[in-house]
């Protein structure tokens, strides 16, 4: 078995070919997917804990249960690609390669955070990784992804824009406007709908006349696939296939990943809108337990592997928390810096 890459290098520098149309299911690759999903979950477990200590404030939307979508889809992206995500974007940022310490410092509101503490949990940005947030207006990121695709096309640059959003966005006008524009202009945009069944507390059946979101994409002539979002390998395979078609010049593609958030919408949600039994049903499909079970059954996962993954994540999270704790507060004198570029560049 070849040596595994360091955690923070899993996406962009793993040496595997992100342009391949199908996943290469080596043991190392599968262990890496497991590691990535666990890394996201443990990071967020720690965030929830830190929230109760009031180290993290404001809104905190956990990705718990949905890790397979970001972890799988991100394997189909390379360094020239862009990512546009939502306010539930910790998993996307981590899987994209944004360093965990900077993400944690952002949650703390520290100057060393990925957005210098000005965005918080909902607004993680990182130019080095073409990570354009962190958008907390539902549907607000889709037009941005279209624009990135347009720029790439007009500049003749390689790469695509991957846009992650929830099924709630399908009710917004920007969803329809963006799909139409991307299809009309044949832009390199990968739309990834994370259908976690609820727009905050409103079930899909209460908000959409047509609940199959992929069908809406097809009506704009965007090739669409529905995929089991609790199966990281299935997500990766679908994302690779879609990205491959986009890179071949075929215009936009759409993925609808059926998934579920195990925890509340945010830290202020009493979850009156869903049964515990339903949550338990979905928990049985936990993407992490599922991949782990599969690896164990096939004899590919040894206790030692898991211990090693656990200890690596534990160390990484501890380091991230220490980095955030040691971080500094932006001086109040700099409050209005970054409103305009001239002031932002002054120092």
């Amino acid at each position: 078995m070849s040596e595994r890459p360091k955690a923070e290098e899993t996406t962009l520098e793993a040496g595997e070919d992100f342009t391949a149309s199908r996943p290469h299911l080596s043991r190392a690759h599968l262990l890496d997917l497991l590691h990535q999903m666990l890394r996201i979950r443990r990071f967020e477990d720690r965030c929830a804990e830190l929230y109760t200590y009031e180290k993290i404030r404001g809104f905190l939307h956990l990705y718990d249960g949905e890790e397979a979508v970001a972890a799988g889809a991100m394997r189909a992206l390379g360094p020239d690609d862009w990512v546009v995500a939502t306010y539930r974007e910790h998993g996307h940022a981590l899987a994209r390669g944004v360093p965990m310490p900077e993400i944690m410092a952002e949650m703390f509101g520290k100057a060393e955070g990925s957005s210098r503490g000005r965005g918080g949990s909902m607004h993680i940005f990182d130019r080095a990784h073409n990570f354009l947030g962190g958008n907390a207006i539902v549907g607000g990121g889709l037009p941005l992804a279209v624009g990135i695709g347009l720029a790439k096309r007009m500049r003749g640059e390689p790469g695509l824009a991957a846009c992650f959003f929830g099924e709630g966005a399908a009710a917004e006008g920007t969803f329809h406007e963006s799909l139409n524009l991307a299809a009309l202009w044949k832009l390199p945009v990968l739309f990834v709908c994370e259908n976690n069944q609820y727009a905050m507390g409103t079930a899909l059946r209460y908000s959409e006349s047509e609940t199959a979101i992929a069908k809406k994409a097809e009506s704009y002539r965007v090739p669409a696939a529905a995929v089991d979002g609790m199966d990281v390998v299935a997500v990766e395979a679908a994302a690779r296939s879609a990205a491959h078609a986009i890179r071949a010049g075929g215009g936009p593609q759409f993925l609808e990943a059926a998934t579920y958030r195990f925890r509340a919408h945010s830290m202020f949600d009493a979850q009156l809108y869903r049964d515990k039994a339903e949550v338990e049903q979905w928990r049985a499909k936990d993407p992490i337990a599922r991949l782990r079970g599969w690896l164990e059954e096939s004899g590919a996962l040894h206790a030692q592997d898991l211990e090693e993954i656990d200890s690596r994540i534990e160390a990484e999270v501890a380091e991230a928390v220490a980095f955030a704790e040691a971080g500094t507060w932006e001086p109040v004198e700099d409050l209005t810096r970054f409103v305009h570029s001239a002031a932002a560049r002054r120092r």
Partner: protein, 328 residues
């Protein structure tokens, strides 16, 4: 001056767009009917044939979609000019303008700036009623992160666009609908102009008339009438509503000691209120009279000509307000 040529506000805008397209391959124009139709106000007429469909890009009626696409394209290395047909339609793109264009630089801690220019028509006077006639530029001037330009003269119509495109941050340009046909002479050397200062368009000593966009010419006409009554009015063209050039405004009023603010926008919470307050903060002790305002009447702009005109600032009202500051 020799070599001056006759032109219109519309032609000046078109020349500015053409120059930008020629100078910078990153520049493109995008909006409803900018290509095959030639622009709702004919500003982009002929540019499609000259630059092609990629760079003169007709869009569907998707203000939020194409404005957001302009933001994304700007971030990813282009220099888009987004045309929104009229300011009332811009509200369909308000989320993109306010929650994305204006906030991204700050919210990302300086990681992503948005070098985007959005042009739109504003103002009343063509009997287009309440959904095509409002003056909301003062409202946009409320938003940190945006720059708001209101070219009134041919020089500014010709010169503001290039400077706006060179700005690393989002700039909104408001073109008053009654100015498109306005003609005059322009120097052949006319080119890019600064977009930070207000300009004194007529010097005077008794009262300062502060105006912008379509109202500038009403203020200049009023100054002419006032001169016949032996009142020397100075006329300041605000040019830029955000950031306001408080220094130039205050210096003029400190000199004349009296001020009339003219704004086609509504009085309550409008840019006239902001200017009046700044004058109070800056030159209170220099004032010889309370500041007067002549604003749009607080009503959705009506269709019939007599009611529409009654809802807008007019020369006699400006003259009367100026006279009141002098106790006449």
């Amino acid at each position: 001056m020799s070599g001056m040529r006759e032109t219109t506000y519309r032609e000046c805008l078109r020349e500015a767009i053409r120059e930008a397209l020629q100078r910078d391959p990153r520049v493109f124009l995008m909006g409803e009917d900018v290509g095959h139709y030639g622009g709702c106000y004919a500003v982009s007429k002929g540019l499609l044939a000259e630059f092609g469909e990629e760079r003169i890009r007709d869009t569907p009626l998707s203000e939020a979609g194409f404005t957001g696409a302009g933001i994304g394209a700007a971030i990813a290395g282009m220099r888009p000019i987004v045309e929104i047909m009229t300011v009332n339609f811009s509200f369909l793109a308000l989320d993109q303008i306010v929650n994305n264009a204006a906030t991204l630089l700050h919210m990302s801690g300086g990681a992503f700036n948005v070098p985007l220019v959005i042009r739109m028509a504003t103002g009343a006077g063509r009997q287009l009623a309440a959904q095509h006639s409002h003056s909301m530029e003062g409202w946009y001037a409320h938003i940190p992160g945006l720059k708001v330009l209101t070219p009134a003269t041919l020089e500014d119509a010709r010169g503001m666009l290039w400077t706006a495109l060179e700005d690393p941050d989002p700039v909104l340009i408001f073109e008053h609908v009654l100015l498109y046909n306005r003609s005059g002479t322009l120097s052949p050397e006319a080119g890019p102009v600064e977009i930070v200062k207000a300009a004194v368009r007529r010097e005077g000593s008794d009262v300062t008339l502060l105006a912008y966009g379509g109202s500038l010419f009403k203020a200049l006409d009023a100054a002419e009438e006032l001169a016949m009554a032996a009142i020397s009015a100075e006329v300041v063209d605000l040019r830029v509503l955000r950031p306001l050039d408080t220094a130039t405004i205050a210096a003029s009023v400190a000199k004349t000691r009296r001020a009339v603010v003219v704004d086609e926008g509504w009085r309550s919470g409008g840019i006239s209120a902001e200017i009046s307050t700044r004058l109070m903060e800056e030159v209170f002790w220099e004032l010889d009279a309370p500041i007067e305002r002549v604003c749009g009447v607080e009503v959705p702009v009506p269709y019939p000509a007599h009611l529409e005109q009654a809802s807008l600032p007019q020369v006699p009202e400006i003259v009367a307000a100026a006279k009141r500051t002098l106790g006449r």
